[in-house]
Structures are given as structure tokens and as C-alpha cells.
Subunit: 423 residues, 2 copies
């Protein structure tokens, strides 16, 4: 029974049924959370051995670098090698830093704003009317960073293959357009892997701004939960091939490999950018936490060993994602009120409701004790023009709770759709 063509009588029956279900959920006083891509307890427990890999001063040397003292601003050699192997670039292109890739991204934008990038004519704070490309739906924290620095956020539609490059290639002719956010593998929230053609077009872009900043947040570079590791091109060498070596900064972290908030983050860039940024970063910090870097290298060892760990994460995550997509298929698909992606990696399921249902659905969820990412969050300025996109983050709750949360969500989506179709 689709919801599009209900008779008044059918609507009344269905509305009564769904409303009663909703009241039932409300009465249970649940407190469930599908708001953020937080790993669940079972995932955290997977990696407990990382706590005991460094126990003795003799464990703390790394190729002649003493992890216990100041120094080695760009990170210990073995950490730079590990990230380089995972990302497919060179260790000399990797800066291993602190616990947060978001902080590194913020800092790159902030440095461009205060000091300028390698090819900037002036710091961005001395330029007016700057714009930033935001493929949407996208990651709300990305958008907030550039919003915070006063950029005009320009929405670029996402396709099944990544950002719509026809639109991008048009927009970058404007020298005021200074950069673009990307989560190229298992995009947040759609779980899309940019196609090879899209990536090639991105690497080959000829932006009017000489200091265009391609932000390549490879947050989910090895984060398959369904199937084998999917190889992915090295954006640094692709950009270099197209004469754009200094255009791109890539980011990654172990936040969803080891412990969120206590992992190691890195950025990767051309050696010229590395020299430029390292000089600026040298004013800001003496060195990052090399003990934690070394702890990670000793625990993760190399790419193959890290991928084996990711299989264990996958075994925990897949039943949760299956629960989400199975429930949607059973409860929502027949009604014709929403569509969604079925990702094989990353941390989200992106649901597109019929226009005008997202806000109301999430308000109802909240009433029933299920917290989700705010409607609109996946669009610049938190404004979804269709009021349609909802990001589901199923990783944190145990499967039993997730089952309840998804039941509540489907109930609320139905109720919102029925309210909209009120006879």
C-alpha cells in the first residue's frame, strides 16, 4: 500500500494505527541515539591491546627518534610510513599529527585565512567575498568550518559518482571560489565512492584561484564493512600528473580504526606544501604526541595488519547496517515515501524522504526519545532546500537498541508522511 493514493478512509485507518504505535513508543520513554558516527562499545573493546603496547622506556624509540621527548614536528618516521602505505602516497608527503583530522582541516583553512597558502596572493582574511564549494548532502562539520570563516557556501549536487563535475568546472572559473570539501570514499552521508572519472576530473581542475584548496577528507579510506577492501587512487600523484601538485590536502585518522578522540590524524600534501606548512606549524607547536603515534604503529603495524583489524570492525558494523536497510526495505519501501543508499563502507545511511518530511520526522523521533542528526545538517547553513535528507548513524547503539530506534524512526517517518497527506 503506497501512501500516495490513499482514500480518505484508508488514510484515517492508517493514521490511527501509526499514531497509536507512535504513542506507544513515546510511553516507553526511550533514550536512543543515532546522531553521530561514534563506534560502539564492542568496537572499542576490539582494540584494548593498544593500551599496553608501550610499557617500557625501551619501547619508545622509533628509528632514532625518542618518542618520549620534544621534537620531530612532522611525526615519527614509522607513523608517516604507515599512513603513506594506507593512502598510497610517499612518507615525505605525510605529516603525522595529533588526535583530530578535523582540527588539521580547520587549521589548514585557518592558516590560509591568517597567513595564506603557498600560492596565495594575500592571506584570505585580506580578500572579500570568498566562496567555498560544498557537495551536498555532505558533512556538517566541514560546512561549519568554512561557514565560521565567513565563506559563502555554494552547494554542489552529489551524484552517484561524486560531486556533479559539470557544475564544479563552471563554478571554479570564479576566482573567489577558494576550495571544495570532499569525502571521496564512502562519502558522508551517502556512502558514495567517487568514480575514477570524477576523481580524474577533480585532479585536472583548472580553478581561477591560484590558491584553490582541494580538501580531500579520506576519513573512510579503509572503512569497508561489507566485502573486501576497495583500492582507491592516490589523489596526490593524480593532482601532480595534472600540474596541480600543490592544490590538494588529504586527511585521514585512526579515529574509527582504534579509539575515537585518542587516535592519530595526518595530512598528506606535496613536498612544497609540506615545507610551507611545517614552517608555519613550527610557530604553533613544538611537536605532536609521538607516544600515541608510536603506540599506534606498534599496534597497527602495517596496512595488511590494519585491514585485518578493519574486518573485525566490519563484523560488528555490518549487522547494524543490515538492520537499518532491512528495516527500511520492509517498512518504508512499499510506501513510496523515501529512498536511500545501501553503502558498503563508512558510517552512515543517507535517507531521502519525499520533500518536506525530514524536519517533522526528526521532531517526532525526538519526542519518542530517539536523537538523530538534525534535519538539514547535511546541507550548507543547515538548510536542506527539499527538507528531505536524513542521516542515520547506526554504529553506536547495540543491535537490540538499534532495532527499537529504527522501528521508532520508521513509525515517525510514516506519521510525518501521513500528516502531510492529511485528508
Amino acid at each position: 500500500m503506497g501512501y500516495q493514493n490513499l482514500t480518505a478512509a484508508e488514510w484515517k485507518t492508517e493514521y490511527g494505527k501509526v499514531l497509536a504505535e507512535f504513542e506507544g513508543w513515546k510511553a516507553r520513554g526511550l533514550t536512543l541515539n543515532m546522531a553521530r558516527g561514534k563506534p560502539g562499545k564492542a568496537q572499542l573493546d576490539l582494540v584494548s591491546d593498544i593500551m599496553t603496547v608501550l610499557t617500557d622506556p625501551d619501547d619508545c624509540m622509533d628509528e632514532g627518534v625518542n618518542a618520549r621527548n620534544y621534537g620531530e614536528l612532522s611525526g615519527i618516521p614509522s607513523a608517516r610510513k604507515l599512513f603513506a602505505e594506507i593512502l598510497g602516497c610517499k612518507p615525505s608527503q605525510v605529516f603525522a599529527a595529533g588526535n583530530s583530522s578535523l582540527q588539521l582541516m580547520y587549521d589548514t583553512v585557518s592558516k590560509a585565512y591568517t597567513h595564506g597558502l603557498l600560492h596565495s596572493e594575500s592571506p584570505w582574511c585580506r580578500q572579500e567575498g570568498l566562496k567555498w564549494l560544498c557537495p551536498a548532502p555532505g558533512y556538517d562539520r566541514h560546512f561549519k568550518v568554512t561557514e565560521s570563516f565567513g565563506f559563502e557556501l555554494v552547494t554542489v549536487p552529489m551524484t552517484e559518482n561524486g560531486p556533479d563535475m559539470d557544475v564544479v568546472e563552471q563554478l571554479i572559473r570564479d576566482p573567489k571560489v577558494k576550495g571544495m570539501w570532499n569525502v571521496p570514499k564512502y562519502s558522508n552521508p551517502d556512502g558514495i565512492i567517487y568514480s575514477d572519472e570524477t576523481i580524474e576530473r577533480i585532479a585536472a581542475m583548472k580553478p581561477a584561484a591560484p590558491d584553490f584548496l582541494l580538501m580531500w577528507d579520506n576519513a573512510y579510506c579503509i572503512h569497508e564493512f561489507d566485502g573486501e577492501f576497495v583500492p582507491f587512487p592516490d589523489i596526490l600523484s593524480l593532482c601532480e600528473k595534472h600540474g596541480n601538485a600543490d592544490m590538494v590536502f588529504e586527511y585521514a585518522s585512526t579515529s574509527k580504526i582504534t579509539l575515537p578522540g585518542s587516535g592519530v590524524a595526518c595530512f598528506a600534501c606535496s613536498e612544497a606544501n609540506m615545507a610551507y606548512l611545517t614552517k608555519l606549524l613550527g610557530v604553533q607547536i613544538i611537536s605532536f604526541d609521538k607516544m600515541n603515534q608510536l603506540r599506534h604503529v606498534k599496534y597497527l603495524r602495517d596496512k595488511a595488519h590494519t585491514l585485518a583489524l578493519m574486518k573485525k570492525h566490519a563484523a560488528i558494523l555490518k549487522p547494524k547496517f543490515d538492520m537499518v536497510t532491512d528495516t527500511l526495505a520492509r517498512e518504508i519501501a512499499p510506501l513510496g515515501i523515501a529512498a536511500w543508499h545501501t553503502p558498503k563502507g563508512g558510517y552512515f545511511v543517507s535517507v531521502n524522504t519525499a520533500p518536506g518530511l525530514a524536519k517533522r520526522t526528526l521532531a517526532l523521533c525526538k519526542e519518542a526519545g530517539v536523537v538523530m542528526t538534525d534535519a538539514g545538517a547535511t546541507f550548507p547553513y543547515g538548510r536542506d532546500p527539499q527538507d528531505s535528507n536524513i542521516r542515520i548513524a547506526p554504529s553506536l547503539p547495540p543491535v537490540e537498541e538499534l532495532e527499537q530506534a529504527m522501528a521508532v524512526f520508521c513509525c515517525c517517518l510514516k506519521l510525518a508522511a501521513l500528516e502531510q497527506a492529511a485528508h
Copy 2:
């Protein structure tokens, strides 16, 4: 025999002797380092137990906060309490962060520049001709931060009681003067403890700039190496008393308590500033490394237990500082070519040579294989108007090496003085 009134013959004999000694040192091909306030190996070995205080998931909860997952931007409750106890302020005034207090200081200045502070009329990047007060000799990394943001650095003379407040009170009448660096306890490099009167005058300042930023880097807050812990006023409550609650940001870290570069840093400020900064920081980072915060709290426990650890550091440091000041007293004092402080805490001995000798002395040291902080580094723009101040950092080398390094230093200082007095 002072060097001031040597006869030509005396000069010749002495010069020959000192030059021969210098050549002897050079021939030994030493590589010694007294450049930076790096703790030595014996100090690092003191704290090895910190590596094993967290070994099990059950260790990782802190008053209901799970240190293993995202969240709790301003730090785990117990870390905020520990720093508050050490600094004498309230836990609600403490933000426990990552591994670097320098990064927090940089970030405060950067935020003022890009977004403005709580009482800013506009972000500092929109204002021209801004100035910054630099008590000198001072910490080169402080000066570099504000130099990097384009401030005109204004030197304030240091007295035995801290910065010359007559000068400061005059300078802050200029609304372009936006802030001031301070290391108020065991100042870098002089090892001076600001007097109560100086601190009171600082807290009571009435700067013309509404967003004047009093940078209070309490880097050596519990870092006595000679004698008992010296209590120190809480600058936050003093500023509040004088109606300046939002003027001050205080910084501290465990870099020289546990492991340099792998410690925990914090800032402390008024609750209004905390709310303002936390909002801005929420755009930049999800949370800091709470595992490392918890590791520190479990290891350091409380102020009394931390002070007991500082006694162990002191037992390692005091012989090194004694070696420096004893050698200076024996080799240099009789010659009348330099004066110095004899600090009871901190990480440095500050030597003031007769004018014009610092650069040459350190160039000679370098020739003989002893690396020291560059001459001039303790002044804004690296320019010591007297070419006189030299910062000795005796903490890193073992005592035997330090003995050699100090012998080389004294030889080079003598040689520089004799060259200057050449007949």
C-alpha cells in the same frame, strides 16, 4: 684578575691561554646541546609507570565519561579538577586539551585574529597597526607567535619583580596594544617570580583596548628544583576582583611533569570566556585526547602527589643547575664580564654578558660543538639591543656532559671578552 683593566702583556698571556684552551675543545669534536628546555633521560625514566596506568576498558571511565569515545570537548572532569587544584582556580574555569600549551596559546591569538575575543569590536585581522607587549628577556616562541600574526612587538624591560609596570601602565593607554606575554613564575629565561605587587598591578590594569589579552603562561607553576613549592596567587580571581575577569587566559601543561610532547595542556579563564571559546573550539575539534588526560589523572592523582613527583625531578635537576652556577661563579665571576640569575625553579639560567659579547660567544660555542639557543632569541625579533643575554638550558645533558659544555661555554665567553678588549 678582572678583564677590564688588563695591560697589553696581561691580555696577550691570557688570550694565548684561553685560545689554546678553545682550540683544545674544538679538537675534541664535541656535540653537546644546551639549547632547549628538554628534560633529560633520567627525568623521562622517572615517569615510566604512566605508560601502564590504563590497561583495561574498565579503567577508562571518568565520572560517567567514557574516555575511549568522542565527546566532552572541554576535557574529562577529573583532569579539569586536577589542573584547577594545581592552579588554584575552579574546575569550571579549566579547559583540559591536547598535548601542547603553545598550541593553545597560538590558538587563542589566532581566534582573536580570525573571529575576535569576547569583547572585541571586530576580529583583529580587520584592525591595523596592532601591538603586543613583550617583557624581555622572554620566551622566543611566545614572541614568534605574535610576530607571525603581524603584531608590532614592544619590548618591556624585565625587573627583579617582573615586567616594569610603570612602562606597561603607560603603554596600555594605546588601544592598539592588544596583549602581553607573561611567564609569571620562574620566568623564561630569568627564573624570576613576579612579585605580589607586580601581579596585583597586572590584574588591576585598565588597558584602552576592550579586548586586551593577558597571556599568563604558568609553564613552571610547580617546577621548583631548589627548596619547597612556592605558593602563587590565582590570577583569575585577582583579575575578577579588579573587574578584569575576561582579560586573562592562563596556560599550563604536564610537559615537564610527565613526558614532553605527550603530556596534557590546559587553559584557564573566566566562565564567560570558557563559553565563548568552547563554542569556537567546537567548530574545530570534536574532542581532545581523553585517554591521555585520564592516564595523567590516574598517574598524578592530585596536587600533593604531583608535588612529590616534582621533588624527584628536582633531585635530578638541581645538580645540573648547581653545575652551571658554580662554574660561572668560579670561572666568570672574577672577570667582571657577565652577571646571571640563580633561579630556584624553571628550566633556564639567564646570563647577561658585558654588552656585545653574546653573539660572538655563541658562535664560538658552536665552533666547539656546543649548541645553545641563538643569541638575541630572548628578545622580540631575535634582536637583543645589548647583544648580551644568553639562555642556558642545562636540563638535557647528563651532568658529565654538562660539565664539559659549561667549560666550553666559559672558555668561549672569555675568548669573546678578550677579543673585544684586544690590545
